[in-house]
């Protein structure tokens, strides 16, 4: 049997992360608990073992060298690394197309820009989070409840709205991290499909929706009022566009 404090205060106390008041509270508890003092000693021994074993592994010199070499400005680099070379070739090809091409060039460039790249990373992150089953968040059809859950977790006002009357019923929301930024995710359902709308603040100007697909998912990305939206679903693109219009209206 374990003590109720074992999963919370005990850890904080051991790691010296508690406030003075909480630490004092826990010390009072320690005086009459039979489990916690034992667990503290176990933790201390384990921690000491980990320190003594010197498990920390520093980066090999070869890696540091490679990273530094990559940092050098283009002109100074003697041998261009393979991926970099491909970037340059791709850039050269794009310029060539721009020179030769007419309207077709547009579509080539469009798939190569930052917004599309980010949308594709979102799809990848999304697929990954579905696989790992680590979806923490709030499950509710009530937009006020969902808004309340996000409050304090986000630095911007989240436009959480339920579109049940229009056919997209709000299912809940969660937090995710894409490219080291926190993003809010709202989940909607419609005729057996789930729609995930990734939302985060941006400094960029408004853009009209752009479309794409990846790994069997469709995405629509747009920016409005300094907020970027990326809706992802395995449903047809037309459904995603409909949801996008509901958000922008």
């Amino acid at each position: 049997m374990r003590c109720d404090f074992a999963d919370s205060l005990l850890q904080g106390y051991f790691d010296r992360e508690l406030s003075t008041a909480s630490a004092a509270e826990f010390e009072r508890h320690l005086q009459h608990c039979v489990h916690c003092p034992v667990e503290l000693v176990d933790m201390d021994m384990l921690s000491e073992r980990l320190q003594l074993a010197q498990l920390y592994e520093a980066a090999p010199a070869s890696l540091k060298k490679k990273i530094r070499a990559n940092l050098r400005p283009v002109g100074a680099a003697t041998a261009m690394s393979q991926p970099l070379l491909w970037h340059w070739l791709a850039a050269a090809a794009a310029i060539l197309l721009l020179v030769i091409g007419g309207w077709r060039v547009n579509s080539v460039l469009r798939t190569d820009d930052y917004q599309a790249e980010l949308a594709e990373e979102i799809v990848d992150a999304h697929v990954l989070s579905l696989q790992s089953g680590h979806l923490t968040g709030i499950r509710s059809n009530d937009e006020q409840v969902v808004k309340g859950w996000f409050k304090g977790r986000l630095k911007f006002a989240l436009p959480a709205r339920d579109f049940a009357n229009e056919g997209f019923a709000l299912q809940g929301g969660r937090l995710d991290v894409v490219d080291e930024r926190s993003v809010a995710v709202l989940v909607y359902a419609r005729s057996g499909h789930l729609f995930y709308v990734f939302i985060w603040p941006t400094r960029e100007r408004d853009t009209s929706p752009r479309l794409g697909s990846r790994q069997g998912y469709q995405w629509v990305d747009w920016r409005k009022g300094r907020i970027e939206f990326c809706a992802v679903s395995d449903a047809p693109t037309s459904d995603l566009q409909q949801l996008q219009r509901l958000f922008t209206n």
Binding site: D15, R49, E57, A59, L63, N70, P73, E180
Partner: protein, 179 residues
Amino acid sequence: MNDLDAEDRQRFEHLVLPHVDAAFNLARWLLRRREDAEEVAQEALLRACRFFRGFHGGDARAWLLQIVRNTCYSWLGKNRPREMMVEFDEELHPQTIATPESMAIVNEDRERLTRALESLPPRFREILVLRELEGCSYKEIAAITSIPIGTVMSSLSRARRQLYSVLTNSHQKEAAREV
């Protein structure tokens, strides 16, 4: 990696490069293989460089480790998707990766601890590495793994308990074999 101007490059060298060891260490424990860790750490550094303009001060180590972690998980998802779903894998447990390096390790306890750590699910391994090896505060761990501080405590508790029980079990097994 070259889209930074001279000034940004200098800032990057100054703020981010000192944490390459931390980046490699985390990748090594998440991926369990040094060769993979080298590749992924390098990729993470490239990403960090690409998005460096979006970094406005703050804790550079936590920022970099967040990128390393995400890169590791996305690499695992692509290359070893099974591992991502594993809660605790008996099959992984007794496995030792026999490199000349690991064979040369004379310190038995180090070997045993390494094996025990590697048998834990990635999320547990990650939080133990951040706390015990990297010495991150709860606040930093919360920032790196994007989980609330309360969850940091309960995850640490579960991770420590599991490591402890793996170590005691393997110890008992060995003792039983000797008898």
